[in-house]
């Protein structure tokens, strides 16, 4: 089926070439990083994780969000999602590819990455993260491919795909829970040491993932003859709405616990993020924007007339994605590391090269997504035509 991706319009090839150029730029910056070390990034001794891991965290959420189309369709026979499920699975594949790439570019000694396999460490959450991420990637590739292939050949998919589908659903919850467990088990980082970090991650994932999917549906509808279905998209908006409400509610729970109990160490992280500490206030405008966007997103999604507005919906989805992205990526990272365990503040700003490498990774993911979506939509068009 891969050969389908080789036949496309001029517009398609121009987009592919743009992505390849971005990937090349990212590769160039990465080679510099490989030779000189991570000193070219904005990370420091105090803020030892930065833009790479921040985006990794957000993208794991987008990958997990794919389960929100899988559960209704596969477990509860919600037929409206019939056309959109493959798009969710392939979005998960592309997101996971980006997640794994972000981890690779973040490593100080990437050549030694197989040490994680050679010396499995069951008490380390990073080991389990590697297991579940790769497992879910494998599952989604196999399931998506097999189901699509079967549809193309107008037969039922092979029987062994069904247990894999059922397995992929707890795996989806699993990937984001394990990623949250990376953060919330560390005793020295008060901002992350919260029981509701995993639920918060899942809620924001179920908001951002489907929002990305809706935007992609709009693009597909415009560029191909494949129509994922307005009703399916409307169901997704309801999912996003409730997930977003839960996410913001969880945030308020954290705020209440922090400020009502008045514990200085807990407050210091929130104060840094939302009000600035000792004159350091780089994150303040970002955090307020994130939550204003999320509030606005809730309003635009909860009012039925606004939710059903075809021209407003992409705007709503965009601000939801931006809001969740800020909160979950750099908001999470800088909030955890600043102030440091010695109550000192070192702010973090990604450097240009860091952004270039990240652009390269995003472009790689988008290329994977483009190829997979080209195959999926072409097959679906073929079958209907």
């Amino acid at each position: 089926m891969l050969e389908i991706a080789l036949k496309g319009s001029k517009r398609y090839w121009i987009w592919v070439i743009i992505l390849l150029a971005a990937m090349a730029a990212g590769l160039g910056a990465y080679i510099d990083q490989f030779n000189h070390g991570l000193t070219i990034t904005g990370m420091s001794r105090d803020v030892s994780w930065g833009f790479y891991i921040a985006n990794f965290t957000f993208l794991v959420g987008v990958a997990a969000g794919g389960v929100m189309v899988a559960i209704p369709y596969y477990l509860h026979d919600y037929e409206k999602f019939h056309k959109i499920t493959i798009l969710g699975e392939f979005l998960a594949v592309a997101s996971l590819v980006m997640c794994l790439l972000f981890i690779m570019v973040d490593l100080g000694q990437p050549v030694r990455v197989f040490n994680v396999l050679l010396h499995p460490t069951l008490h380390s959450m990073l080991f389990w993260d590697m297991c579940v991420l790769n497992g879910y990637l494998f599952l989604n590739i196999v399931i998506g491919w097999k189901v699509l292939e079967a549809e193309r050949n107008q037969v039922a998919p092979p029987k062994w795909v069904t247990p894999l589908i059922y397995l992929s659903i707890p795996f989806a919850i699993g990937i984001h829970t394990v990623t949250a467990y990376l953060y919330c088990g560390l005793p020295g980082r008060g901002y992350w040491l919260s029981a509701i970090l995993a639920p918060r991650f899942l809620a924001s994932a179920f908001a951002a993932g489907p929002a990305c999917l809706i935007l992609l549906c709009y693009i597909i509808k415009k560029l191909t003859k494949f129509d994922p279905g307005w009703e399916a998209m409307q169901t997704l908006t309801k999912i996003i709405c409730y997930a977003l409400i839960i996410n913001v509610f969880f945030f308020f729970c954290e705020v209440f616990k922090t400020y009502y109990s008045n514990i200085p160490e807990d407050k210091s992280h929130f104060n840094y993020l939302f009000f600035g500490l000792q004159g350091h206030n780089d994150m303040v405008p970002w955090m307020w924007t994130a939550y204003i966007f999320m509030f606005l997103g809730i309003i635009l999604l909860i009012v039925p007339a606004l939710r059903r507005n075809k021209t407003l919906l992409p705007f709503t989805c965009t601000i939801v994605i931006i809001g969740v992205w800020i909160d979950k990526s750099l908001g999470m990272i800088t909030g955890g590391f600043i102030p440091s365990p010695l109550d000192q503040i070192t702010q973090y700003t990604p450097t240009g090269e860091e952004l270039l490498v990240s652009l390269g990774v995003f472009a790689t993911g988008l290329l994977v997504l483009t190829i997979l979506y080209k195959i999926a939509t072409t097959v679906k068009e073929e079958v209907r035509g």
Partner: protein, 274 residues
């Protein structure tokens, strides 16, 4: 025709996998066995042994000069780079600009409010506000960094020292996020241009690995005290916390000591006499 060709390919693929697995398995098996049979690996007779290594920092004996000397000695003994040094431009052309917030430090000086941020005290005696404290890796009994490391590159030795195997570290920096004391540093760049004088008795590190105080394990193995303890003029005492007759236990018994963030339960092995 189609069916049998497909079957043939399937069988060929599986047998190739099977045949290919044998040498792979053999290689792994051989790697575990010893290369020289009947060889014994042992400690030196003069090595210092303890069941649980610990350190007491006596702040009554610590002055600014002694603290500076300790930091300098540790830096030299372990080839820790100092980004204030000017690198040799002929030997190292094309260096990236220095970022001081990417510094590496194993033991360093802090004031009370940063060494003990959990013990805030509005009415703290002036004496303690002005005191110089030394902070370093606490060699915890239940180290969260060891729990976090995905390759066991950082691990706890049976004698209590938390070590790093620099060959295995993949530079993921999860241990740095896990440490509640901020004791770990990452080599964001090659440290060699910034090492003033290389001590031949200890390797340098390379870019991309995490490092921290290793309690001078290499000196203990040769019967010497850690470098910081040696030049501390009695301000740093090192010993066996599990031996009730050791000097360090007697000190802890005779004086009131505090530890950093002990409420987190990592059980630090570095005690401060106030």
């Amino acid at each position: 025709m189609k069916k049998s060709r497909r079957n043939f390919l399937k069988v060929a693929g599986i047998s190739a996998l099977g045949i290919g697995a044998i040498p792979a398995l053999k290689a792994v098996a051989v790697a575990e066995s010893q290369s020289a049979p009947h060889a014994i690996e042992m400690k030196r007779k003069d090595a210092l042994i303890a069941k649980r290594w610990g350190m007491v920092i006596d702040t009554r004996k610590l002055t600014d000069e002694i603290a500076d000397e300790i930091v300098k000695t540790c830096r030299y003994a372990h080839n820790i780079p100092d980004f204030h040094n000017k690198p040799d431009r002929k030997k190292y052309p094309n260096l990236k600009p220095v970022k001081f917030n990417q510094e590496i430090k194993w033991i360093w000086e802090e004031k009370y409010e940063h060494a003990f941020p959990d013990k805030e005290n509005e009415f703290l005696a002036e004496k303690f506000r002005k005191l110089t404290f030394l902070v370093t890796c606490n060699q915890c009994k239940y180290p969260p960094c060891v729990q976090a490391c995905p390759t066991q590159a950082t691990f706890k030795r049976p004698d209590g020292i938390v070590m790093i195997d620099f060959h295995r570290c993949i530079g993921c920096r999860f241990c740095m996020a896990a440490c509640p004391f901020g004791s770990r540093s990452f080599n964001f760049r090659d440290p060699r241009p910034f090492i003033e004088k290389i001590d031949p008795d200890y390797p340098t590190r390379t870019r991309g690995v995490v490092e921290k105080c290793d309690f001078c394990a290499e000196r203990l193995a040769k019967g010497k005290l850690p470098a910081c303890a040696e030049v501390s003029k009695g301000a740093i005492i090192v010993g066996d916390l599990d031996d009730p007759d050791s000097e360090i236990r007697k000190l802890i018994n005779a004086n009131f000591t505090i530890r950093r963030k002990q409420e987190l339960g990592t059980d630090p092995s570095v005690y401060y006499i106030m």
